[in-house]
Amino acid sequence: MYKKLSFLILLIVLASCDPPGDYAIKIKEDKSSGKSFWSTPDFAFAEWEIEGNNMRDSIFWAKTEIILKDNILDKKPLGIAVNSFGAYEMYWDDVLLGTNGTPGQELLTGKVGETDRYFYIPNELATVGKHHLTMRISQYYFPGYDRYIGIYFGNHEQIIRNPLELTALIHILAGAFLITFLYYLLLFINDRKNIPALLFSISCLLFFMLIIMEYLKFYVPIHYSNFLVRLETIGVLTLLISFLIPFYFSIQFSIPWRKLVFVLYGGLLLFIFIKFRGSYDFTARSLAQSMWLISIVMVSIAAFYRNKGAVIVLIGLIASALVDYFLYYDVSLFLSFTIILLCMLYMLSAKMKEEKFVYEQSLIRSERLKNELLKKKIQPHFLMNTLTSLMDWVEESPKKSVQFIEALAEEFNMLNQIEDQTLIPITQEIALCKSLLKIMSYRKETKYIWNDFNIDVTKKIPPAVIHTLVENGITHCSPSSKGAIVFELMYYEEERFNGYELITIGTIRKPNKPVAERTGTKYIKSRLQESYRDQWQFISEATEKGWKNEIRIYR
């Protein structure tokens, strides 16, 4: 795919390297109102003004000299492509080649003629030597504009075909962007959270429209009075693209202060757009340069913080800026934008891969957690110690051992019920804790007291999380002087989060042992991550009252 793309880009570069014709055009006002001709002695060519003046609402002459050498004759039949505002007649020496509207009659005839016109030079007129190419023009629709005329000279067929060939190639590119736009739009519709896909999709659409608008002139006749509409449209498209692309990168690289930066940046773009309105190429260039500047700064920051993919995108951005700097504008615009869009696509696919990986990891985690929960029931430490105690109780007091077995059955029964779930009612979790305490009181012959406050019975929690904290409390605390270990569970709601606080009141055996090393901490964190995806916090610390565990779930 990259090979094909680079081949396409090469073709575009080659096809567009033909520079515009470089002919010295001079102009002179026609004060004779059509009675005299350009070749009369009054119109001495040396005294004509150079092109670029404002002729207000008068009719004027425009002329250039073309010298045909021997070698040009191979290119017969010859033709001329003209890119110019106004209604005009075109002369080759004294012969009228054709007209583009009627000069001086524009307002009467309506909008006749096109901005881009092609004229055929009959073979018998294309002789070796000096020739005059002359136009008689009026520009009533934009009398206040300076006069500029673009002339391209060559084989008649070629000068018509060349821009169409380029257009065809560029439109293949446009088609690719149209499909990409649709694909990512559908992707976004199916996953509304995927804002980068939406931004990328819009960028592709804008870019598609930009290409179409840019090349429209080669196959849709546009009267010069409508030509600025096209340029305005191109300006607006460039403005939007210049905003969207850096915004996209800022989201992909999680750039801080994004909102503020983009309010300011948007303001700058609008300022450029309004301030330089009318000088279209300059505006487009300034907008594009602002875009590069801010994108490169942001991606550099991302690269500095070792954000994944930032270096590749940075290289792409610099490459596209270099392309823009060194190549002819019409080409560079597409080439450099294509590089940027490829960078965006790269980021999108990299993120997709990352998300897929995270998703797969979450599946694995869920399986593992299910396993761990299962293991809780049958892990030898719990089971064998319980059975040993049970043997002893059986030998000592059949009545008490029956109660012990009941408590054990209850615990197993509850673990069975929850083993497949990721969230269970808090009441079920509390029941699980209580039954564990009952079992442990038979094993350790310690008094365990459970208290809970302010419990919202509608709330859910990942299974065996508080249960694990209670196990920890039993393991890491010994009874206080009163001979009991007390567990206090409290639910509370803050502005940004809900929380559970479990305090184990007893003597902490090793207060300085790191929390991370305590049994089950990993299990708790994995369970919270599974259900709340980074929107949680687990705090575990020694306090004066006893060991405190806090689980915060952010809204």
Binding site: P380, H381, L383, M384, N385, L387, T388, S389, L390, M391, D392, W393, Y442, R443, K444, E445, T446, N472, T475, H476, S478, R509, R518, T519
Partner: protein, 232 residues
């Protein structure tokens, strides 16, 4: 006999204590119980004990750390644990027995018989732990050439000529060492894989010739047994 139980479950500790007392019935024995490793280490430092009953999972702490220190002591160690899969490892460190939970009086009796029985139990001990300069070092039993009794200690003579003192008596060591080791004299235990042959000297003095060229005396009462077991 002084016995220490390190066990964090009170019910189980009480059961064990009762069973030990049942076993020793007539013998004078005193059983102590602590429920954390730290307390256990402190108790061993302050008292002379003959036997340690150790649980391998204590309040979430790994009892193996404790085990390494315990096996270097003069007393024997019996593991009482739920983790059967760690039995082999425990034996390699030189414990006298590994009693899996849940246990019965019969199983406890079987373990404690090893204490009063002087004969080797032919265990799979692979390491002997010695205390030196405040640290615990593990010596591979296959590196030991012979062991010489020295009062209440034992002197390990290694193949490379180095000697090291072990806190256990020869009586205790012979109980835990593998079948490669034979007590040939009241003061010697020999690694029989390093033996060349028996030599008889005038006056019915028997000695064992080692591959290293050394000669060790064979006890008069042991000669017959050793000859029939190893050289016929």
């Amino acid at each position: 006999m002084q016995i220490l139980i390190i066990e964090d479950e009170l019910r189980i500790a009480k059961r064990l204590k009762r069973m030990i007392q049942t076993f020793f019935r007539s013998l004078l024995c005193e059983v102590h119980h602590v429920d954390t490793l730290d307390e256990g280490l402190q108790f061993i430092a302050d008292h002379k004990i003959d036997l340690l009953c150790l649980d391998l999972n204590l309040n979430g702490e790994n009892g193996f750390e404790m085990l390494k220190q315990a096996v270097a002591g003069s007393f024997q160690t019996i593991i009482i644990s739920a983790y059967r899969e760690r039995a082999i490892e425990a034996f390699e460190y030189g414990v006298l027995d590994f009693v899996p939970k849940p246990f019965t009086q019969e199983r406890i009796d079987q373990a404690f018989h090893r204490i009063i029985n002087e004969k080797s139990a032919h265990l799979s001990t692979r390491y002997l732990a010695i205390k030196r300069k405040g640290g615990i070092y593990l010596i591979k039993t296959e590196d030991v050439l012979y062991i010489k009794g020295a009062d209440v200690y034992a002197e390990l003579v290694l193949k490379n000529g180095i000697t090291a003192l072990h806190n256990k008596t020869l009586e205790s060591l012979v109980q835990i060492l593998s079948s490669d080791f034979e007590r040939i004299h009241k003061s010697y235990i020999v690694n029989m894989t390093e033996v060349k042959g028996i030599s008889i000297e005038p006056g019915s003095k028997y000695s064992l010739e080692l591959n290293s060229g050394e000669f060790l005396p064979i006890g008069r009462t042991k000669y017959k047994e050793i000859k029939s077991k190893w050289f016929e």
